[in-house]
């Protein structure tokens, strides 16, 4: 089991989806400081918290990796909601595509997401940003 590969299931598509927008949006994950050059511009934050790894049974514990994913997109304040909506829609679409019925590979990691809560929008008081955010639970499996 590698936690990094499980993070990648969720973080990589979000980063790619935001990078594909025009103009591109820089995305920061856990423990990555936002560059000073980006702190006043458009950017996005992805945070992933693990909430459990195993499930008890009558026998040995079985693996059941789960957690919560939070994505916050920061667009320019006082410019209307369109850009923030565009950013968060790209994120929601790409995350929703993870819940495919296609067969997954027989090795490596794969995961799905639960109900997406949001998007919620807020004009931030102490920053030059208008924020759109979503959160969802996830479940992942690592096949060795």
């Amino acid at each position: 089991m590698t936690l990094q590969s499980i993070r990648a299931i969720y973080e990589a598509p979000v980063i790619a989806a935001l990078a594909a927008l025009n103009p591109t949006v820089n995305c920061y994950v856990d423990n990555q400081p936002v560059k000073k050059t980006d702190s006043n511009k458009e950017h996005a934050l992805v945070r992933l918290n693990f909430t459990g790894m195993t499930e008890t049974t009558l026998g040995p514990n079985i693996e059941n990796i789960r957690g919560v994913l939070i994505v916050e997109c920061f667009a320019k304040k006082n410019n209307g909601p369109a850009r923030a909506q565009e950013m968060i829609t790209a994120v929601m679409t790409t995350l929703n595509n993870l819940n495919t019925c296609d067969p997954h590979a027989s090795t490596g990691s794969y995961g799905t997401i639960g109900t997406i809560v949001g998007p919620s929008f807020a004009s931030l008081e102490d920053r030059p940003h208008y924020m759109a955010s979503i959160s969802c639970p996830f479940k992942a499996t690592h096949l060795s």
């Binding site: 945070r47 918290n49 909430t51 459990g52 919560v68 919620s120 008081e125 102490d126 924020m131 639970p137």
Partner: protein, 157 residues
């Protein structure tokens, strides 16, 4: 032969009413346990209202107090019980709306980023983990609190 559920639990509706009421209280206990404890105002400001409802917000004159940078104490056990709001009865199985009445709840619950106060859990004297609310609500914390209360009540019937 399968028995009707009413024979397994004689008064299923009564059990459900009591269970939901106990679960609401247990969910608030979890919110206080997991949430930040700065000057006590936020922890004592959870509101439980019957049915789908909005949560009232305090007036502008209710403000939190300053706190020492080294203060880390949080209420536990019985001290939490004294912070619980009244839980209305659930006679018609309306369910509950749970919310916090402080004006700064969005920041305290890490739903809005800020460089003030607990700074999204990054402050040196933060008393709750970053993203504590979303982790509690969407992770398993809240579900466990609900199930625990329901199981306890249904065992009595």
């Amino acid at each position: 032969m399968a028995k009707p559920i009413s024979q397994l639990i004689p008064d299923f509706t009564e059990a459900l009413k009591e269970g939901i009421q106990e679960a609401a209280e247990n969910v608030v206990v979890g919110l206080i346990e997991e949430g930040p404890y700065w000057d006590g105002v936020f922890a004592a400001s959870w509101s439980v209202r019957k049915g789908k409802s909005s949560t009232p917000t305090y007036g502008l004159n209710v403000r939190g107090a300053k706190r020492s940078a080294t203060a880390r104490t949080k209420p536990q056990g019985r001290a939490i019980k004294s912070l619980l709001p009244p839980i209305p009865s659930n006679k018609k199985l309306e369910g509950y709306t749970i919310g916090n009445m402080t004006r700064y709840r969005g920041y305290a619950m890490d739903l809005l980023p800020t460089n003030f106060g607990r700074q999204g859990g990054r402050a040196e004297n933060a008393t709750a983990m970053p993203d504590w609310f979303l982790t509690y609500y969407q992770g398993e914390g809240m579900k466990k609190k609900y199930e625990e209360a329901m199981t306890n009540v249904f065992k009595k019937y």
